[in-house]
Structures are given as structure tokens and as C-alpha cells.
Amino acid sequence: MSSSSEASNRRLLRSRDQIDRAYPYELSIPALARTAAMSEPHFIRSFHTCFGESPHRYLQRRRIERAMFLLRRSQLSVTEICLEVGFSSLGSFCRTFRQVAGKTPRAYRKDGAGTTQGQVPTCFAMAWGRPSSFGEERGIGASLSSWVRPARPVLKTTGGKPTC
């Protein structure tokens, strides 16, 4: 690993932090690529190589992590949370939530996962509370079995209707 790849990693980390900050807004690949000092196609490839997922997928996980926080900690409705974290369609939000978190937003809220998060510094809560990119139900409130033997999510089609 050369110092140039470390510098490249560091710039990509800077652009990923930018996604973390601006998660409610539309993803601007040109702006992120500028932060990383790369062309857009090179940025997308490099981001994936560096972090193991595309910028879009990372944004989705960031939004869902925030939605999970709001479901646990606020009284906002699912629709309000959907809009708050940057989704414009409730159907898309619920499908993504279910795909990433393994359950619907309502089921997640009903389960009451992670109610002690207020005692945890935000950096840890964000990093560990965020669902995995690979579909395992992980993070605060996940059962031990899901850590020991991660299961791929079972996606059920619902005729396009949101199942929140």
C-alpha cells in the first residue's frame, strides 16, 4: 500500500463523510467526485473498491440507519420519517428499509429495538447501529443469532404496495 493510495482512501473517506452529513439530499456524484479529486466514473469505482459498496448503497444505509434512529427515538409517523431521511416515495422507503433492516419500519418500531441508545456516543451508535450492506440484521437490538449466523433477507413482493 503506497502513500498515494492512503491519500486516495483519505479523500474517499472525506466524500463518504459528506454523504453522512447530507444524507437527506439527493446524491451529487459530481460534488462527491470533486471532494475526492477524481473523475466521476473513477470516483464510483474507487469508492466501491475502498468501502465495498457503491455511494448510492452507502447513502441508502445511512438513510435507513437514521430512519431506525427516528423510529426508536421519535414519535414521527413512518411517512414523516420517510421524507425526513430523504426518500420521496413511501413505497421505495419501505422496500429499502425492509431490504436493508430485514423488517418493515412499523415492525422495527414495534419491536422497540435499541431503546438505550441515548447512553451511547453518536459515532458508535451510527457506526454499529447501521445495518450491514449485505443484508444481515445487525446493530443495536439485533439478536445474537443474527451475529453468529447472518441470514440473507427474504424479500417478499407485495404487488408494489408499501408494507410499512
Binding site: 492512503e6 482512501n9 473517506l13 441515548g118
Partner: protein, 135 residues
């Protein structure tokens, strides 16, 4: 039994650059700076709190082989070595203004949290730092 935590460690890519950041920008003070030959043992602490030190350790031989050091440096620059520091301040907004003016890389502006107000930043190497004003 155990009575206190004396030294915590984070990895840095360059110890001089680390000093510029942790002492020059964050305002910590050097506690120990010993060139042991095989390593530079460099710790800093919050002014007035010398009992809690942070070891600024450069990954490399002889503690680890070159290939392992490369992996650590790679992970560090991706923000994935797990290096986290959590400082307290009496005024998060004031600290934020001061550190922003010094050009520190902010990852999150001051935000209301269940435990108080805090903001996030990174050191030049990718370690994550939070500064909190607790309730």
C-alpha cells in the same frame, strides 16, 4: 483491582503531523516524547489531565511486519481501524467555532443528542473524534 485508565492508543501515519494536529489544533499537550530507537513513544493529554494519555502510535516494524503495517495504514486511511476519541467541552458551539477556524475537518456540526450537544471531526489520518458538551 483496576483503579484507572492510564493510556489509550490510536494509530497515526505520521507522528509529527499528529503533533501538529493534536497539540497545534486541538490544544492537547505532549506528555511523553521518548525516542526508544525501535519506536518513538509519544503521548498527549488534555491540559490539566496528565493521568489520561493518548499514545500516538505509528504502525510499522518491529512491532508489525511491513505487510501488516500496510494493511493497518490502509484501514486507517479508510477510517476503519476503530480509532475513536471522545472529548468533553463546557461549550460545544464555541469549540466547534474555534476548531473550524483552525481548519479542522468537521464531519458533523453541533447537534442535539440525548446526552447533550456534540460534533464530529476527523484527524488527518482518518481517526474519528467527537467533542461533547454533556447535559
Amino acid at each position: 483491582m483496576l483503579s484507572s485508565l492510564r493510556i489509550s492508543q490510536i494509530y497515526v501515519l505520521d507522528q509529527q503531523q499528529a503533533l501538529d494536529f493534536y497539540v497545534g489544533k486541538l490544544g492537547l499537550e505532549v506528555n511523553t516524547d521518548n525516542d526508544l530507537g525501535f519506536m518513538r513513544f509519544l503521548t498527549v493529554n488534555v491540559p490539566g489531565d496528565p493521568e489520561r494519555q493518548i499514545l500516538l502510535e505509528r504502525p510499522g516494524p518491529p512491532m508489525m511486519d511491513d505487510a501488516t503495517a500496510e494493511q493497518v495504514r490502509d484501514l486507517l486511511s479508510k477510517g476503519r481501524t476503530g480509532g475513536h476519541l471522545f472529548f468533553l467541552t463546557p461549550d460545544a458551539h464555541e469549540s466547534y467555532r474555534e476548531l473550524s477556524a483552525k481548519g479542522v475537518e468537521i464531519t458533523q456540526e453541533p447537534t442535539e443528542q440525548p446526552y447533550g450537544i456534540d460534533f464530529g471531526m476527523r484527524d488527518p489520518f482518518g481517526n474519528h473524534i467527537r467533542v461533547a458538551q454533556l447535559r
